[in-house]
Symmetry: C2
DNA sequence: CTGTTAGCGCATTCAG
DNA sequence: CTGAATGCGCTAACAG
């Protein structure tokens, strides 16, 4: 392995001078800088970060913890995060918690051990607070994205779940729907809770009674919603919903698939609206009405806040950034006379 | 920061003993082990990997370099790689070269600097050989996936491009097609070259003349193929192809979209076959005939080979694993009388 | 089974 | 502008 000493010897300078050249110190004469750089190139020298980190306590590595790498929403988040991180001279370590607190904890120890300068995280659920506390104890800044955690003051980039949900539900109401079902993720996740609450509030505002049997709790991962749908379809005619609100892309997509299997016509027999965009890999126009969140920006802005926190350019006060979603009205919820 | 010395002092042992406990050395009395572990837990001690790496030259970090994080093919590769890496106690650093040799080189220096134990890489193109040589010079093992590099002896996990392409083209020939176009990626990438060659060979075997104007070179990223398609459609009636072979998922998908825009009926006016699966996010049955590669296994097996190489359990001789693709015949290439 | 000594490669002091 | 000494946190090699 080539070290600064090898460079120093060959360039007839001290190791310290080489170190200064590497770190782009200003206080180096043009002449010696060029001489050293030539030797560095000649010997293919690449600095050893482990040695560096040991002293500086900095790694120039940021970590991104997401809950599902198979979800296009998080793929976009990752792209945004990666773009900003690279632009700012940081590397990105990608971790996938699979919506699992235990797996998240395990990764967290690894991150601390390896030395991340900061962590951008979509927490698995409310229990993740424990992991956040651990980061704080180790002096590692973090920024929450997509999901908040109760009673945890920190920088975060979130979606405006209240407004977006209300707009989706009111759209359904305007289309004449009174019995609107919700298929949600686990309520131990903040986004599920907020969308649940906004669903309830909107119904109440419009004088629509809330029915327990229209509220289903499923998962945010790409798992089947057959049971939930089946239960909704099994309801007596006068209780059966005429519309379904799916709280993420996989639930929405699987709802459409399942309804199709049951030969239920959308939107005539059942209207569907969903959270999150779904990439269109076909030549057909998309059908599903969705509230598309700015996933890329979750990553991009999240990393920006994180770096500002790390480099001390952020204000003392924590920042909570709330981004709007964009609603695309499509056939799945538009009444066709 | 808590160090082994803090633990040692509080547990009334030497730092070395603490180190042994952390590293699960056998030669420790049950009693002292328990005592030390208790203090570690009490003080929330997590070892500093930078210090460790400096001595051991091991980081327990593997890197995965892919060329396009937005491509579902590589997302699957990443999942497979992540699963295996985690299972074996390694972390995965994900890098995205964007099909760009320069970006790949930049990441490569970072990887070497941070200290990856090994690299699993889908090289951007043949020029990447230079980057591979650099890894070798720094003693970092690597495994190629998806794409090989001419005259580079190393472990690799590839797809059987020759057989798969032949089967796709022969399927088209059986359907009665004689004028078959190919829209390919850049020929500086091995997979593009191999598919190109197999396309030529298959046509020749079946006595079909090869026409230059039916061979288009595009990109593997999600960019438009409008020009290529336009040129094909502009050909005089008797030279115009009746089928298109797309050499990856994005090309296939964009070919379908573009044909749709031109109101060209598939497969009646133009049959289409494509490489790579495309996730189906709709309730409709997929239409496109594809050769689906075992992407997950590229990652999974690739990491396996890599770890065997790192830990010295691999045979001296390099291994070349060739995985078959699975052909799904669908409407886009099936003649409907 | 446990402890001592030394040093991994580099940047932070502090001197010149 | 340059250099010498020191130690970051940990483990390899040896000694007891």
């Amino acid at each position: 392995m080539v070290t600064i000493y090898d460079i120093a010897k060959k360039a007839n300078v001290s190791a310290m001078t080489v170190s200064r050249v590497i770190n782009k110190s200003e206080k180096i004469s043009e002449e010696t800088r060029k001489k050293v750089e030539a030797v560095i190139k000649e010997l293919n020298y690449i600095p050893n970060n482990s040695a560096r980190n040991l002293i500086t306590k900095k790694t120039k590595i940021l970590s991104l913890m997401i809950t599902d790498i198979a979800n296009p929403f998080f793929t976009s988040v990752a792209r945004g995060a990666e773009d900003k991180a690279m632009q700012m001279g940081y590397q990105l370590l990608l971790c996938n918690s699979d919506e699992d607190f235990e797996k998240e904890s395990k990764y967290m120890d690894m991150l601390i051990s390896t030395g991340s300068d900061g962590v951008l995280i979509a927490p698995a659920n409310d229990h993740s607070k424990k992991n956040m506390k651990k980061l704080t104890k180790h002096g590692i800044p973090f920024v929450l994205i997509d999901r908040s955690i109760p009673n945890l003051e920190c920088d975060q980039v979130l979606s405006d779940n209240e407004t977006t949900t209300r707009r989706l539900i009111e759209h359904l109401i305007k289309q004449g729907h009174q019995k609107i079902a919700i298929i949600n993720g686990p309520l131990v996740v903040s986004t599920a809770r907020e969308r649940h609450q906004a669903y309830l509030d909107t119904l109440k505002i419009h004088g629509i009674s809330v029915e327990d049997h229209l509220m289903k709790e499923s998962h945010f991962r790409d798992s089947d919603v057959t049971n939930s749908i089946q239960e909704l379809l099994n309801l007596p005619e006068d209780e059966r919903p005429t519309a379904i609100f799916a709280t993420n892309n996989f639930i929405g997509m699987n709802t459409m698939k399942t309804l199709h299997k049951h030969n239920i016509k959308v939107p005539e027999e059942m209207a569907v609206v969903s959270y999150d965009g779904i990439p269109n890999y076909t030549e057909e126009e998309p059908v599903l009405t969705v509230a598309e969140q700015p996933a890329y920006n979750f990553g991009y802005i999240g990393i920006q806040l994180l770096i500002e926190r790390i480099e001390g350019t952020a204000p003392e006060k924590v920042r909570k950034i709330v981004l709007p979603a964009e609603i695309h009205l499509r056939a799945s919820s538009l009444y066709q006379p």
